[in-house]
Amino acid sequence: MAKPIAHVKSFDWLTLVLYLSLVAIGGLMIYAAEYKVDDSGIFHFTWSSAIGKQIMWTAISLAVFVVTYFIDSKFWSTFAYPIYFIAMVLLVLVLLVGSTIKGSTSWFSFFGFSFQPAEFGKVGAALALASYLSYHKTSLKVTKHILISCAIFFFPAMLILLQPDAGSALVFMSFFIIMFREGLSPYLYLIMFCLIGLFLGSLVIPIFSVFLILLLIANAFLITLLKDNSTPILLTFGAVLIVSLIALFTNLAFELLIVNILIFIAFGGMLLRQGKFKPLFIIIPTLLFAGGLAFSSLYMFENVLEPHQQDRINVWLRPNLSDPQGSLYNVRQSKLAIVSGGLKGKGFLNGTLTKLNYVPEQSTDFIFSTIGEEQGLLGAFGIIVIFVLLMLRITVIAERSRLPFGRIFSYGVAGILFFHFFINIGMTMGLVPVIGIPLPFISKGGTSLLAFSILIAIILRLDSQRFSL
């Protein structure tokens, strides 16, 4: 164990302050979200009430935070796999003996407390991934190693998907941020984003318009390959490009599509005459694959995704198809609450929509709407700024880490935090689809707070030893 004096010197106080302020704000916001109009006057406090439980969970989390901090830093790198293993066992066990709440078998219940092993899956996966990637023989240029790394976090994600809890499972995708930092090719990310964009785009805009856009990109690509891209050819294509872009907003897309196919054939023919075969062998299959994906995306959307998942995408991208009293309800009510806050907010415990239960799940997933309504734009800005500072601080800690384990683990935590932060706040405003994950440190839910406390404590511990090796 390091000497206490070393801790004080190397301890990152800023992270602790940011962490504690988020926990404190969380406590107040949960109190506000749970506070109801008929509680006016004396608040009837009991330990079994939502507030009582949250106070106990906060106390436990802080205690565990301190205990975790004083565990030797080598413990984590040494026991990363056993911890991962235990977490996976818990995830399997919960499927067998867990209690089902709202259709998901995600909880162990005892003594009136509920415990969600998925949150510890994140801790386990972050440790295991850090351990594996920090191993000196591991290289993300090697396909096998890439697959093993992915398996480390896909496995718990799959188990969680079986509960089913798609939101918590999706959080594991944040580990791709570590993979990026540790050398996975950026082109893979580019292709992934293009495919996701193509899939979602095909849901929103007419299929002919998608084809038209793909062909325009292909034609633009071909023209760069032509040896003598003379002025008449450029002008012709330029004109077609402009007309096609305008056509995207009219119903002439089909006619323009034919024109663009003819241009594609013409350019292709010219390339062949110039003796360039190879680009065509790449472009044509890619075009066909992209077209096929666009064509089948609607089919996949309707047949692969669960109805409630379709609803959430619809609420996000096609709100006019959604039932305002049904799937659109949560987001609509949440947005109403945020809007009603205005610049300064209505004040602590004065949010009428909050007090009157207008926003479903408000103390958990939609806690941000309480902040928006009662604390207004200033409060919302404050929360976002604290989160950004915390995440940036963790990247600083990561980069100054001497050991790859500390760096990778810290990026893992930053990634998880970022995913929760962006998705959760984004969904309360309809910016991203509703994915039921909590806002770290703020949302009600003991396991989440406990797991994030452990993650931060481990980071601080690993960081505190940066001078001692």
């Binding site: 109009v37 008929d38 941020i177 990026f180 930092r181 039932d323 305002p324 009293q325 009510q333 947005k335 109403l336 609450a337 945020i338 809007v339 009603s340 806050g341 205005g342 610049l343 009428t352 929509l353 009157l356 239960n357 207008y358 479903p360 928006g372 207004g376 734009l377 919302a380 800005f381 976002i384 700024v385 989160f387 950004v388 995440m391 940036l392 990247t395 980069e399 990026y411 930053a414 970022f418 962006f422 706040i425 984004g426 405003m429 910016l431």
Partner: protein
């Protein structure tokens, strides 16, 4: 390190996107802000009580009767309630219960958490029974609505009725009314809607997501209580009005009685009429309404202000007065009459056989046609025989001063103006107008048309010797700051010198004392009157009587018009006499009781509709 920058940039850019979205929502989305308030706030309407109506002596005429709307919040209804009892209490069947409770929930307009009207217009009798069991039916509540009740079964046309506003009305009054509100449709209810209706109050109540009330909004600082409408005091004398109704029972026509000194309408009766309680808002209203609409005698047609009749002989006073004022005659002029009047060589008009009209009074007493044909010709030909147009227009201007040819009342929206011809009117039919062409006007026939109200006003003008105050039905609003309009208080002169009325009124006295209107005579009260018999090409003549009494300091002036009843002396004059006696003496003398009995029993309705 390059990758670190990408990661940090991603974090910062994402945060900026979130910040911009929060700012957009909280600072610039005013449309959603409005609905944010609506989501948590419920605005409850407090209906004001409509102003009551009283007669001139303080008798209550129109009051408010309770009627209830049964409201429900779907989600608060216990599905296990005893629906059989519920339906029995409200007198509906099970199908109605199910149909009314289940709305189209897919329509976002409805919500299972929002209160809606389950059953409207429940009478206080049914509600009384239902109320005792209301606690057994959670989710249901009653809202009180005021509808009209009437103390007397009369004055239906004057008082008017109220009805629920329809869509076209709402379109025309977008800010003032909401669906489900009542508004005055006819009569005083319509004319003084603004004063009677009062102002609705609003209570802002916070509701939770289940539609439960959790308390007042902002401690009730924005709440307003309903302001009751002003009570309206009419000029009517309800005893006189009801007596007029009785006398006009089974007869067609109108009676208007005016207090000459004030222009206040004492009674205004159009017959046939209906009991106003029949058209108050209740379950059977529609049927009764249809019945009245189908009635061939058209009870909704207000014969006091909408029917335009030729005035007949009562117009002779007007001709006499204008002739005197124009100095084309003098009170003692003698015009010979042998029972006929030679208008032109070929046009010979009938007159009755009567004593010779030595002066104007005698001519009036016996209603000599020849005399007034001649006076009228003198007026029209004042500027020369070939200048009849000028003479007629001069005559026309006098008539305008009398309030003829234009709407008169201050309280009616459906009043007809009547008609008085001028030279332009004849320019097509008579390019060279000569007095013989239009001589019928001299005895109140021809193209002349007047309403019953204008005739009563003529009686008031005669009683006042040359002036009148525009007749009106509104005496005042109780506790209201506003005064009556200037029109209802200012005197209008007909521009005829007072001394010209002396021979006219003398003649009218003789009409009652020993002329055609003897049946209007009252012991101890000098009544002045004039009968009229209006030729009716469609059937029996109309009977008209114009009167005021007493001769000095007149208290009442009235015109009685009875359609298809024959001469003015038969029905109109005795009815007028009884009304005057009732008003001035409060009772009918024993000697008149047989006459009263006969009139009450007379049925002049066309035989088809007679019972």
């Amino acid at each position: 390190m390059e990758k670190t920058i990408y990661i940090r940039a991603t974090i910062i850019i994402s945060a900026i996107i979130l910040l911009l979205k929060v700012a957009q929502l909280q600072l610039f989305d005013s449309r959603t802000r409005t609905s944010a308030q609506a989501a948590a706030l419920s605005k409850q309407v407090q209906y004001p009580s409509r102003g009551l109506m009283f007669d001139r002596n303080g008798n209550l005429l129109v009051y408010n009767d309770a009627l209830y709307d049964i409201l429900v919040v779907y989600n608060n209804v216990n599905p296990a309630i005893d629906t059989a009892l519920f339906c029995k209490l409200l007198e509906i069947d099970q199908d109605t219960y199910i149909k009314r409770l289940n709305r189209d929930w897919r329509n976002p307009q409805f919500s299972k958490n929002v209160e809606f009207v389950f059953l409207s217009k429940v009478s206080s009798k049914i509600y009384g029974r239902f109320q005792e069991h209301l606690f057994e039916f959670p989710g249901f509540r009653a809202r009180l609505r005021n509808v009209r009740g009437y103390q007397f079964p009369g004055a239906a046309h004057v008082l008017g009725f109220i009805n629920e506003v329809d869509q076209s009305f709402l379109d025309n009054h977008p800010d003032e009314y909401e669906s489900g509100d009542f508004t005055g449709i006819t009569g005083l209810e319509n004319s003084y809607e603004k004063e009677l209706r009062g102002a609705k109050g609003y209570k802002y109540i916070l509701k939770d997501n289940l539609g439960r009330e959790v308390g007042p909004y902002e401690e009730g600082r924005l709440d307003s209580s309903a302001v009751p409408g002003y009570d309206l005091i009419t000029t009517l004398d309800i005893d006189l009005q009801m007596y007029a109704e009785q006398l006009m029972k089974n007869k067609i026509g109108g009676i208007v009685g005016i207090e000459p000194s004030s222009g206040e309408i004492l009674c205004m009766q159009s017959s046939p009429s209906w009991d106003p309680n029949d058209l108050t808002i209740h379950k059977y209203r529609t049927e009764r309404f249809e019945e009245l609409l189908k009635d061939t005698l058209d009870p909704f047609f207000d014969r006091t202000v909408m029917a335009q009749y030729p005035p007949g002989s009562i117009f002779k006073m007007v001709v006499g007065l204008i002739a005197l004022q124009e100095e084309v005659t003098h009170p003692n002029q003698f015009i010979s009459c042998n029972g006929t009047y030679h208008n032109t060589k070929r046009d010979i008009r009938k007159c009755r056989n009567h004593p010779a009209p030595y002066n104007m009074s005698i001519a009036l007493q016996y209603s000599c046609n020849s005399y007034f044909f001649e006076l009228f010709k003198n007026v029209v030909d004042k500027y020369g025989y070939n200048q009849a147009e000028r003479g007629l227009d001069n005559f026309h201007n006098y008539l305008k001063n009398f309030g003829f040819g234009a709407t008169l009342s201050l309280d009616h929206f459906n009043e007809k103006p009547g008609f008085i011809p001028d030279s332009r009117f004849y320019s097509k039919t008579h390019p060279n107008l000569r007095s013989p062409n239009i001589v019928s006007l001299g005895i109140g026939q021809g193209e002349l048309q007047m309403t019953n109200l204008q005739m009563a006003n003529l009686a008031a003008i005669l009683a006042n010797r040359g002036s009148f105050i525009t007749p009106h039905l509104l005496k005042s609003f109780r506790d209201a700051p506003q005064k009556l309009s200037e029109k209802a208080t200012s005197k209008r002169s007909v521009r005829i010198a007072e001394h010209h009325f002396i021979p006219i009124i003398a003649g009218m006295q003789e009409v009652v004392n020993s002329g055609t209107g003897r049946s209007a005579k009252i012991d101890g009260i000098q009544v002045c009157g004039k009968t009229g018999t209006v030729e009716n090409s469609h059937g029996k003549d109309h009977s008209v009587f114009l009167a005021f009494a007493p001769v000095e300091n007149p208290q009442i002036a009235l015109a009685v018009y009875v359609e298809n009843s024959g001469g003015g002396s038969r029905y109109a004059a005795p009815i007028a006499g009884l009304l005057i006696e009732k008003y001035l003496n409060k009772t009918i003398s024993i000697s008149k009781e047989p006459l009263e009995q006969r009139l009450l029993e007379t049925n002049l309705l066309p035989s088809v509709t007679a019972p």
